[in-house]
Amino acid sequence: MQAAVSARRTVRVPFAPQAVVAMVVITVLGVAAPWRSLSAQAVDGAKVYAATCLACHQASGLGLVGQFPPLVGSEWVIGREDRLVLVMLHGITGEIEVEGETYNGAMPPWGATLSNDEIAAVATYVRRRWGNNAAPVTIATVARLRAAYAARSTPWTASALQQQLPPVKPSP
């Protein structure tokens, strides 16, 4: 039931940006203005990070000791992009090893609240910030993953993601 609601919401932004602008409008000083540009490039990953991720993962990207894992140097961030995107879309729960330390918590799903361009922007941001230097994530990649895993309604576990999306073998 709830999953259906979420699923409905998930598709609203990526595929119907005009509708979003029509629906989500903020009025400043009595003048209606779009809350953000239609241009995907205009989505600022830093802003999405600050509003969505920072409270737990911190401005430093180092997380909080023993509670929230670091993003700096994390295989989950700079490794396979599809894992990172799926974690953002559906959340993740249970034990997860990050940079040698095992955490046991829960990250909520953001697929319902963040659009594809926002997820692409913030994924790219964390992959290239604090000395991380992984390839950007495109909006198309997020859209593809969102569609491919549209049926998923529960958070991932680390081992499920690792089994479904095993490490890519380095080219010889």
Binding site: A50, R80, E97, T154, S159
Partner: protein, 1187 residues
């Protein structure tokens, strides 16, 4: 209401509004600068007591850009820091003022003196606050409610009424209404504590209590309550009537109360333990199941309205205003701190409860609370930029959301409104005004015509139910018992909401509730509407109408989950055991309801009655449900000692902390008999139920089932474990015995051990054995390893390491899924507790076992991972790693650890450059001069303690098979006769090598006091001569290059330095400890070891083991102890040791030495000379052969 992500100490907040503002205002290319505010983090600046609210238009535009509202609504930035910072809760007053709780501590900081409530006024109605005053100051303001000139503030542990009697916007009278409701900052930050409050139309303050609970809360009338866990407490506005209203919530931040006094809260998740964001409907007396019921006893708690997965529930508000659009104006709103949303919940009544939806309404960073004012404005407190601690003064703001097109209106002035005007407001469609006008009516008291008018409002048919309910509760509070006539009439009103409210009002005041007859309430149990049934049940509990129990029992069979749940709890609250026992022969459904109630009644009478039933002679059919009810009663909830149960308390249930009580001893034998007489086909089911009910330890099933078919064994195991919620220490010896039985699979006992919270007394060997047993399931072994690693001190580390070395992970790429044992290994290595144990793992990195070395290196690598380790750790660990990278003995293990830990990239250089060639090649190039000729000892002097030079005591030193041997086969005992054999050559600069292996046992009679000397000898350099030693001298003044053999366990490095009568300098400091360990690995057994010392006069000395330099020091000099009974004057403290003799020890350990050789490093250093050698380090011009 604050956020909370729940885990650990969660609660929200703090960092970056300011940074965000900077970012957004600057060019996009600067977005990488989204870092915390540059401003230094210091105490908040003192805010003037009152003044004009400063507005920074540019900054506020940026903040407002974070807020998204739907079409048809308008958002304005009402106030921002510094006045409205860290707004953790807020409320509005009837006059439109907004009270904002400021708590810079958020959830984790615990600095006193920071909290306050600020009153903000928007005098010109433009949507931005113009003036403010600091209404009152207190620590940890968490909940506020306004009432005339009074502001109720929940600031744990107190609920306080702050009154502004002068009207200047600053409280001048303070009165504590409740104390002890939570904890203060001396205990911990305001996390999982008591939070938001809401004033209901019934005159009660409903209070959200986080799951720390409260030890002893005391109201103004002296009434005291205690509660472990979360819930809702209510108290009257005068501090009387304090009571627990509902329980079983987790870390809730707020309560919303609807016009009919349904209470709602958006709860917080325990981050993956199965309790996610739940929306609860809290009726009087319900338990929503956290932590002991929700997982394994879910049918016993009130079901939640919804489960929303991840998030952080914060504020809650029933928003009612006629100017809000259809569907928006009379429903529940909640806020979620984590998902940055204000959520709207469309409701549909369903039986005793509701079905509910959730739609995003406003997007705003980290909303904490929300409130509606009389002019249709919704205020939302945002903790934008916040995290969990105080991080500067730029966090948060308050935003105002209003339906577009709402005409600006003036707030009604409640205090000067006429009675007639108040009555209109009381019946109006703005929920805040109904409450505030009611309060004013009550303050004015009984005035002519007022009661009649309000009675008319309550009784009229036309007004909506919310208005009539407001009127009837006003009447009840105003008139007391004199209102009962009207209330009686209304209790059979056509409108169910009015009927329910009338029942509630009739019994609200305990001093008058007895006037209401049980018959009236019981009649309403049969009301066609469930909300009325629920009100009647609550009323019967409130009037202690135990004689209504038979009727209540019928409702336990209701198909409506809320009604059935509340009915069972009512029977328990009424202690209606007799009625419950009386229906055990009734219909199965009623019997089930009765047993559900009975299982919560821990009384001797109930136990006696159930035992009688369970053991009476029947036709052989055991009353299993009665037996299981007794099983439930075998334990009760332990008395709370005030301990915080953490963010993930045990969810096993049905008790959080089961403990035995007075009747346990009578119950357990009944259970035992039932188990022993159970036929094989029902035994398994019975066991499963009893384990679930905590009659057995959680891991007992496998062992109980393994022994089910052999009566004697079944009896033995049942007797061992029955009645024990946890594995008793007394069972350990029997378990050890059972471990060896063929019939008992090793996994059965392992599972029993692994299901405990920790290792109980005496079980360590069993746990150790099971953890290392490949026949045990991996997941069970993994859990046992975790238990071992929690054992404090060396014993735990030894045990965990011993188990882990057999499961060293294979090298796989990052991101590979790990099995349970690999996960256990990695969890152990990455656990931050290891940072306190680094010395242990430095030792481990030098152990004899390669797998233990890998484990040690893994911990060390992890401790300095990412270059973020504190200096103290880096300074300790980096030199160890540095040495190991250059060590032939350790390199491979370190490299393996690096690859297992997937640190290949960080150590790419080291991995690409293994240590240089084997030592033999380099060494063989040097002109080694044998000191031992393989035949005799003719160039050597022997000296034993107590003997003169030249006496080879008991033929200890001997030459056999070309080896110099030390043997103790002729020693009957040992009395401190340490032996040394000195070569006759005095030297200053040289390289000396010894190849040795330890053999055999220590000399007889060495005793425990000489345990250190087992497999322990030494090569002494810069030694005094044998002839200069005293007769009774034990050790020569010298530097001992220790030859130490491994013991088959633990770490015992070789090539260590010991300093009899000497000191050295290391890292430019004089070292006076007697022995300094090298960085060698441990060398067990009788393997040959080549140990070398490079001695360079009184400058530098290095110890080399199998080619690895394992210790370096400088400036050898005389001094200190450990060379006893020297000849007077020989030991000259502080005198540099420039040269000396080479000696070997007989220090109680038999040893074979096959080679003693040296290279002299003194000679002609004139390059053109024939005698020149490039390896000379010290010139001896006399050695040159001039051309």
């Amino acid at each position: 209401m604050l956020c909370s992500l729940s885990s650990r100490t969660r609660w929200c907040t703090t960092t970056v509004v300011f940074a965000l503002a900077t970012v957004a205002a600057d060019t996009p290319s600067l977005h990488a600068q989204a870092v915390p505010p540059a401003a230094p983090i210091a105490a908040p600046p003192a805010l003037p007591q009152s003044g004009v609210v400063p507005h920074d238009a540019a900054r506020e535009r940026v903040l407002l850009a974070q807020v998204r509202v739907p079409t048809g609504f308008t958002a304005k930035l009402f106030a921002a820091p510094p006045v409205a910072m860290y707004p953790v809760c807020l409320t509005t007053a009837a006059d439109g003022a907004v009270y904002v709780c400021v708590d810079p501590n958020l959830s984790l900081t615990a600095t006193k003196g920071r909290g306050r409530v600020v009153r903000l006024v928007d005098s010109n109605g433009d949507g931005a606050a113009d003036t403010y005053s600091v209404f009152a100051a207190m620590d940890s303001p968490r909940g506020v409610a306004h009432d005339g000139r009074t502001l109720y503030v929940m600031h744990p542990p107190a609920l306080t009424a702050y009154r502004d009697t002068t009207g200047d916007g600053i409280a001048d009278v303070t009165e504590d209404l409740v104390t002890g409701l939570g904890f203060d900052l001396d205990f911990r930050g305001a996390d999982h504590t008591t939070n938001g409050i809401t004033l209901g139309i019934d005159g009660w303050l409903y209070i959200a209590v986080g799951d720390y609970g409260f030890r002893k809360a005391v109201g103004k009338d002296g009434s005291a309550i205690t509660h472990r866990g979360g819930g809702v407490v209510r108290v009257r506005t005068d501090g009387t009537g304090l009571e627990l209203y509902a329980r079983g919530t987790r870390n809730i931040y707020d309560v919303a109360v609807d016009p009919f006094l349904n209470v709602f809260t958006r709860d917080n998740t325990n981050d993956g333990d199965g309790w996610d964001i739940r929306l609860h409907h809290l009726l009087a007396g319900v338990n929503v199941g956290y932590p002991a019921l929700y997982k394994n006893f879910a049918t016993e708690h009130m079901p939640s309205l919804a489960d929303y997965g991840g998030g952080s529930g914060t504020g809650g508000l029933w928003l009612q205003d006629p100017r809000w659009p259809n569907g928006f104006g009379n429903t529940l709103y909640t806020t979620d701190w984590l998902t940055n949303q204000v959520l709207r919940h469309p409701f549909t009544p369903k039986g005793g409860s509701f079905t509910v939806q959730q739609d995003p309404f406003v997007t705003v960073p980290h909303p904490a609370d929300l409130a509606i004012d009389p002019m249709a404005h919704l205020y939302v407190a945002s903790l934008s930029g916040g995290s969990y601690t105080y991080q500067g003064d730029s966090v948060g703001y308050v935003v105002r959301v209003t339906p577009s097109g709402v005409a600006p209106a003036r707030a009604p002035v409640i205090g000067t409104s006429s009675n007639a005007e108040l009555r209109v407001l009381l019946g109006g469609a703005n929920s805040e005004l109904r409450v505030q006008s009611q309060r004013e009516i009550l303050r004015r008291g009984i005035r002519p015509g007022v009661a009649a008018a309000i009675t008319a409002l309550a009784q009229a048919r036309q007004p909506p139910a919310y208005a009539r309910v407001a009127a009837l509760f006003t009447l009840e509070q105003l008139l007391g018992a004199a209102s009962h006539g009207v209330l009686h009439t209304l209790s059979s009103d056509a409108d169910a909401a009015v009927r329910a409210a009338a029942l509630r009002a009739l019994v609200d005041d305990p001093t008058t509730s007895s006037l209401t007859t049980t018959a009236i309430l019981v009649a309403r149990l049969a009301d066609p509407q469930e909300p009325v049934q629920l009100a009647a049940i609550a009323a019967l509990v409130r009037t202690q109408a135990r004689d209504a129990a038979p009727s209540l029992l019928q409702l336990t069979t209701s198909p409506d989950a809320a009604v059935a749940h509340v009915a069972v709890n009512a029977l328990v609250a009424l202690d209606a055991s007799a009625a419950c026992l009386a229906v055990l022969d009734g219909t199965p459904a009623v019997r089930a309801g009765a047993l559900q109630a009975l299982q919560q009644m821990h009384s001797p009478a109930v136990v006696s009655a159930l035992i009688a039933r369970a053991t009476r002679a029947t036709d052989g059919v055991a009353e299993t449900d009665v037996v299981l009810t007794l099983a439930r009663l075998a334990h009760r909830e332990a008395t709370w000692n005030g301990e915080w149960w953490g963010t993930r308390p045990s969810f096993i249930g049905p008790y959080y902390a089961p403990t035995r009580w007075e009747e346990s001893a009578r119950i357990v034998p009944v259970l035992r008999r039932a188990l022993l007489s159970a036929p094989a086909d029902t035994y398994a089911a019975l066991i499963a139920q009893m384990v679930r009910l905590r009659v057995f330890p959680q891991g007992a099933s496998a062992l109980l089932l393994a022994t089910a078919l052999i009566p004697a064994e079944r009896e033995r195991v049942v007797d061992l474990l029955v009645g024990h919620a946890e594995l008793p220490a007394s069972a350990i010896s029997t378990l050890a015995d059972l471990t060896n039985r063929e019939a008992v699979p090793p996994g059965a006992i392992a599972e029993l051990l692994a299901a405990e919270d920790g290792i109980i007394g005496g079980a360590l060997p069993l746990v150790r054995g099971a953890a290392g047993n490949p026949a045990v399931r991996d997941s069970v072994r993994a859990r046992l390893v975790g238990m071992l690693s929690a054992v404090p001190g060396r014993a735990g580390l030894d045990a965990a390491s011993a188990a882990l070395v057999s499961v060293t992970p294979v090298i796989t790429p990052a991101g590979t899924a790990a099995g349970p044992l690999e996960a256990a290994w990695r969890r152990f290595v990455g656990d931050r507790r290891r940072l306190q144990e680094l010395d242990y793992f430095i030792d481990a990195s030098r152990a004899a076992s390669p797998d233990l070395r890998v484990l040690g290196f893994a911990v060390l690598l992890q401790s300095v991972r990412g270059g973020r380790a504190p200096a103290a750790i880096a300074d300790t660990v980096q030199p160890v790693l540095h040495d190991a990278w250059r060590s032939r003995a350790a390199y491979a293990d370190l490299a393996r650890a690096v690859r297992i830990m997937r640190l290949d990239a960080a150590y790419a250089t080291q991995l690409a450059t293994p240590p240089a060639m084997p030592p033999a090649d380099a060494a063989s190039a040097l002109p080694w001069i044998p000191l031992f000729n393989g035949k005799d000892l003719k160039d050597w002097d022997i000296k034993f303690t107590g003997s003169p030079v030249g006496v080879n005591l008991r033929n200890t030193f001997r030459v056999t098979d070309g080896m110099l041997q030390v043997r103790y086969d002729q020693w009957p005992t040992f009395n401190g006769e340490f032996g040394h054999i000195f070569h006759k050559t005095r030297a200053s600069h040289y390289l000396v090598a010894v190849e040795y292996r330890f053999v055999g046992e220590q000399v007889a009679g060495a005793g425990a006091g000489n345990g250190w000397a087992i497999r322990n000898n030494g090569l002494m350099v810069h030694a005094q001569s044998a002839r200069s030693m005293g007769l009774m001298q034990d050790f020569p003044i010298s530097l001992e290059v220790q030859m130490l053999g491994g013991l088959g366990r633990g770490t015992r490095t070789t090539g260590n330095l010991c300093t009899p009568g000497t000191h050295v300098m290391m890292h430019e400091k004089l070292v006076t400890t007697h022995c300094i360990n090298s960085s060698s690995v441990t060398l067990d057994g009788d393997q040959w070891v080549r140990i070398e010392a490079l001695v360079l006069g009184d400058s530098v000395i290095k110890h080399i083991v199998n080619g690895d330099t394992v210790l370096t020091y400088a400036k050898p000099q005389m001094g200190g102890g450990a060379a006893n009974n020297t000849v007077s004057g020989v030991l000259a403290a502080g005198q540099a040791l420039v040269d000396g003799f080479i000696a070997l020890q007989a220090e109680t350990a038999p040893i074979d030495i096959r080679k003693v050789e040296m290279v002299n490093l003194v000679g002609c250093m004139t390059p053109v000379d024939l005698n020149f050698r490039s390896y000379f380090v010290k010139a001896n011009p006399a050695a040159c052969k001039r051309r």
